[in-house]
């Protein structure tokens, strides 16, 4: 008898994967988990915004520090006038001054003692005269302000009003340096977004096979289709779900910005209309971003799916998810760190290591304009996806799909672990 398959006597790998993906996609999309998935990114966003708001308020309350002036009345007035005259020209670099005390003739003033008493936002005390000012402050503050104080004192002593010529400014969109910095920022933002989206997805992927195990469907699936197809199907379903999610997020954010006329200032000065152009240009960069998001999800997802598939219970998945998430954070940090050394050993390692490769290549696309490394990298990452899924499927079949008596050593271990029953 031949071992050849009768035509159409089984589903192909992709057909089988599609059956799984279709079922999972519909099941997830119409479940409450999808709502959580959609709302998921809001939690860090809301917490981040709240934290930033609170931080800003605290900062505002403590940021403005004053120099308290304790001099003879005429000197105090001269110093404050000079500070007021210089303020429009020098702006916020000039320290703010307040009157601490108008000294009577011959009166001595202890600046150290005044500083040691908590009073307002006084960070330094200025005594002496405009000709011989004495600044009492911490070393850092004294170093920071001594030039400004000297300038104010000089202006207070000047008999003639100096003329400050206006400076004509010519604006350009970018310089070599600003372009480089801008591209690095683009890379950082892209990596962060990629990381956030992936970390949400992989967490869900990890637990995706638990349903099949808990409901004992896994054996039916394993009997009907290759385990590789099961893995691919699960990954595709979650990928499709993520695409729906991303579409919703982008539409919502885009709608907020465009329709509601959101001011860039409301996004912390982040002007979406004037983002620095990435190395490969915007159209290609967006295309590569989609590809690297897909590859990143598939590479990391396949590893997480394998880890999750070996876990027997939700509790085990929860236990495994913490180190897995930590590992993802480390990968993200390595890829981000590689930004400071383009072409250096760290970037090469980040590109070659399959789990950080999509991050590193997306960063590279933001900074460099060459395209051929991307073709190689995508091929390299695809190879690892296949290897991970094949390896995971094989491990799954060996470790999970077995029955019969437990091996002797396991039984002994179980006996030792088992509580004694009286």
């Amino acid at each position: 008898m031949s071992g050849e398959a009768t035509p159409k006597s089984r589903l192909s790998l992709w057909q089988a994967a599609w059956v799984i993906a279709r079922r999972d996609f519909v099941a997830i999309l119409f479940s409450r988990y999808f709502i959580f998935f959609l709302l998921g990114p809001l939690f860090p966003l809301v917490i981040g915004t709240l934290a930033a708001g609170v931080g800003q308020r605290v900062d505002d309350a403590t940021a403005q520090t004053d120099i308290a002036v304790a001099m003879a009345p005429a000197d105090v007035d001269a110093m404050l006038r000079a500070q007021g005259a210089l303020q429009p020209t020098l702006g916020p670099t000039l320290p703010h001054m307040v009157v601490l005390r108008r000294l009577a003739p011959g009166e001595r003033f202890d600046a150290r003692a005044a500083l040691s008493r908590p009073r307002g936002n006084i960070a330094a005390v200025l005594t002496g005269t405009p000709a011989h000012p004495v600044l009492t402050a911490t070393a850092r503050r004294a170093e920071e302000w001594k030039g400004a104080v000297s300038l104010i004192a000089a202006r207070a002593l000047a008999k003639d009003e100096p003329v400050y010529p206006g400076v004509q400014t010519v604006g350009v969109k970018s310089s070599g340096a600003s372009q480089r910095v801008g591209r690095v920022h683009t890379a950082q933002v892209s990596l962060t977004l990629l990381f956030i989206v992936t970390i949400f997805l992989t967490g869900m992927v990890m637990s995706t096979l638990i349903e099949e195990k808990a409901n004992k469907i896994i054996e039916i699936l394993a009997a009907a289709i290759p385990v590789d197809a099961l893995f691919f199907g699960k990954l595709f379903a979650m990928f499709l779900v993520s695409m729906v999610g991303i579409t919703v997020w982008v539409t919502a954010i885009g709608g907020l910005i465009e329709l509601a006329g959101m001011n860039p200032a409301m996004l912390g000065g982040f002007d979406v209309h004037n983002l620095p152009t990435p190395g490969v240009g915007w159209p290609l960069y967006l295309g590569l971003a989609v590809i690297y998001f897909t590859m990143n999800y598939l590479v990391i997802g396949s590893v997480f799916l394998t880890i999750g598939s070996i876990a027997a219970t939700v509790r085990e998945v929860q236990t495994l998810s913490m180190p897995a998430t930590m590992a993802q954070i480390v990968v993200f940090f390595v890829a981000t760190l590689a930004l400071v050394d383009p072409g250096g050993p760290l970037e090469v390692v980040a590109i070659l290591f399959p789990l950080s490769s999509p991050y590193a290549m997306l960063a590279r696309a933001a900074i460099e304009d060459s395209l051929w490394p991307h073709l190689l990298a995508i091929g390299w990452q695809a190879l690892w996806v296949v290897l991970f899924i094949r390896g995971g499927a094989s491990l799954f079949r060996r470790k999970v799909m077995k029955s019969g008596p437990q091996p002797l050593k396991l039984r002994r271990r179980d006996r030792r672990a088992a509580p004694e029953v009286a």
Binding site: K8, S9, R10, L11, A16, A27, I220, A223, P407, K409
Partner: protein
């Protein structure tokens, strides 16, 4: 056990091609021998029972036949294919541990199980509804699996196993968890499948099901198959039992009884002598036994199982058999 044990009684002479064939199949898990060289031949269109106590290796063997796991040694063929998954569309499988997606509607679950075997979803949905209707569950077709009783969910899964009209149906402990009424319905369903040309192989630890349904059985114990062949041949391996009731307790007729005859209550039990019934009758009459009754009882599959697999295996089997099925 005699010398013939451990051999597969060939079914080729029946003239039907083999749907399933296993030769010297061995499986180890972490060094533990789960299946120790099993040979099996299941003819097309047969209802074939795999009989053995829990832990005997039935599930492992079925999983190997289906290609869920690969054997460490030996070969298996399903419908002529070395790789069973190559003919996955032609196989239906009901595992011992039943399971469906709880949020799926019943007819959708049937369609999904069909889709896994290549049945288009649209056709599967239509057949799912029809099958449920035909089995008296039409009213529950739109219900979610979690809303069904255990027995109903089990039926839905069985229908999902059959929705793509497989040529080979593999059922692992299909009677487990069913009440006597549904066990009877399932027996009828299996018979009708075989009548329509499907090959049915099922594992069970309930001898009565195998005895009622199967032409051929494999007895599996400790990962080995000490007997595989026809039920009749298995029963014929044990001599028929004579049950004798006499008017007198003692007399010259006692010399006609074999040495291993047992006396229980009013009856004597002993194997039918090789010489047949006539010489025995003559000796009893001439010895003035005063015969009140005499019957010759053919050995049952249970006796054959005890003889082949041993007392321990038979006891293990009985311990797990539901009382109503025995």
């Amino acid at each position: 056990m005699d010398a013939a044990l451990g051999q597969v009684e060939s079914t080729r002479n029946v003239g039907r091609p083999l749907a399933i064939e296993a030769r010297g199949v061995v499986k180890r898990f972490d060094g533990t021998l789960a299946v120790a060289g099993i040979d099996l031949e299941v003819p097309e269109g047969a209802i074939y029972g795999v009989l053995g106590p829990n832990g005997a290796g039935k599930t492992t063997m079925l999983r190997m036949l289906l290609g869920i796991i690969d054997p460490d040694e030996g070969t298996r063929r399903v419908l002529g294919h070395d790789r069973p998954r190559d003919v996955a569309r032609l196989i239906g499988y009901l595992p011992e541990e039943r399971g469906l997606y709880p949020s799926m509607k019943a007819y959708e679950a049937i369609a999904f199980l069909g889709a896994l075997r290549g049945l288009p979803l649209k056709v599967g949905r239509q057949r799912g509804r029809e099958l449920m209707e035909n089995h008296g569950l039409g009213y529950a077709a739109e219900r979610q699996i979690r809303q069904l009783s255990k027995g109903m969910a089990q039926t839905v899964q069985l229908l999902g196993t059959l929705v793509h009209e497989p040529k080979v149906v593999v059922l692992d402990e299909p009677f487990a968890g069913l009440d006597a009424f549904n066990q009877g319905k399932l027996e009828n369903l299996l018979r009708s499948l075989a009548d329509n040309g499907a090959t049915v192989i099922f594992s069970t630890h309930v001898i009565a099901h195998a005895e009622r349904l199967c032409e051929n059985v494999a007895i599996i114990a400790g990962g080995k198959v000490p007997y595989a062949g026809s039920v009749d041949v298995a029963r014929d391996r044990i001599p028929a039992q004579v049950r004798l009731e006499t008017a007198r307790n003692d007399g010259p007729w006692r010399a006609a009884l074999p040495a291993d005859a047992r006396h229980e209550g009013a009856f004597w039990y002993f194997p039918l002598p090789d010489s047949g019934i006539e010489p025995l009758l003559r000796a009893l009459i001439e010895g003035d036994a005063g015969i009140l009754s005499l019957s010759i009882e053919r050995a049952g599959l249970h006796d054959a199982f005890v003889s082949i697999a041993g007392e321990a295996a038979a006891k293990a089997l009985e311990e797990h058999s539901p009382a109503e099925a025995r």
